[in-house]
């Protein structure tokens, strides 16, 4: 029997204060919760992007989804890193007055930045990548079909496959992984993404 004094017990309890959530997880959860609702919290620079997207693309889902992608991109990579071309997203006022084509170009710049960063930094927090992938999976067809977004899908799926291959899987999960790899090899990246998210549930 281990003898322990009350002081030692309280000292040990104090050490339990070291239990803390993963910082990235906590940050992502916060942005996800606040972005999901009507009263969306966005950094000022993204408000205009959201408003413009909402106007251009009828489904509001896209606007919110893309805003979340941007939000996550900044959260994962940092604003100065996620656009390697140096084309930082424009201020809301100027973006809002631009043509749909110009706004789409802005999306492409952002997506290209994400792809580049995912390729350069494949060891990103899997949970952050998972949320990013889920958000992308919600995007409507016209945006998803662009080559830039397809490239992002491809990179995300590859990243997820590598990550999952490091874990122990059930028989059912192994089958899904095989299906995912088959879809990936045939270039069906968005279908592969949907599959791979099943494993990650």
């Amino acid at each position: 029997m281990t003898k322990i004094t009350e002081e030692q017990l309280i000292e040990s309890l104090n050490q339990l204060k070291e239990i803390k959530p993963n910082k990235e997880w906590a940050s992502l959860l916060k942005s996800q919760i606040l972005a999901e609702e009507k009263n969306v919290v966005q950094p000022a620079r993204f408000v205009g992007i959201m408003d413009t997207l909402r106007f251009i693309f009828a489904p509001r889902k896209l606007a919110y989804s893309f805003a979340v992608v941007l939000f996550l991109a900044v959260g994962i990579f940092g604003l100065n890193k996620f656009v390697p071309t140096g084309k930082v997203p424009q201020q809301p006022a100027s973006l809002a007055s631009q043509t749909p084509a110009a706004v789409k170009e802005q999306i492409n710049v952002t997506v290209k930045g994400l792809v580049q960063n995912l390729k350069n930094n494949p060891d990103q927090n899997p949970q952050a990548i998972r949320i990013l992938a889920k958000t992308l999976a919600d995007m409507p067809g016209d945006v998803v079909s662009s080559s830039d977004v397809q490239d992002l899908y491809k990179t995300l799926v590859a990243n997820q496959i590598v990550d999952i291959q490091k874990t122990t899987l059930t028989d059912a999960q192994q089958k899904i992984l095989l299906d995912t790899v088959t879809l990936y090899n045939t270039g069906k990246y968005n279908e592969a993404l949907e599959k791979v998210l099943l494993i990650n549930k």
Binding site: M1, E6, L13, E18, K30, I33, N39
Partner: protein, 176 residues
Amino acid sequence: MTDSINEQFSHVYDQYIDKIYRFVYLKVGGQEIAEDITSKVFTKGWEAFSAKGGPASGGKNPIKNPGAFLYQIANNAVIDHYREKGRSKLVSVDASPEIVDPGTNAQDMAILSADIGTIKKAMQKLKKEHQDVIIWHYLEDMPIDNIAKLIDKPAGTVRVMLHRGLKDLKDIVQEG
């Protein structure tokens, strides 16, 4: 000028995310489960906050004490978790492999060493009411008067609960 509801909740989130996560973690003992439950707690908290407003919102029926409100949701969520799993708290400590989470991260591995791991497991064997007051007082440094308000009991009762909780915890550790 009053902060927007989003800014208020953002502040509440930053203030309580560690505390609620720790509170849940010590009751369920696993990182992934604690993350899931904590997510639910703050999602529900945000829904209520959006509808009612926070202490500074000037709404009709605002949430006056966000901390107490979140702890209440967390308590209910943990109860729901065990109810859904069809297992009691006491049984889970010895029978469930989830108590030592296979997904435990490096940080957790460090703090699970030696006696800390013992204390953590012992905490999970305590009565729920003793768990609560010990976590609030010794881990969150909450004064006894605040705990008394939180659980709507006299301060003297809280002192007795703390005393009994510590004694039980000590017994569990020594028996372990």
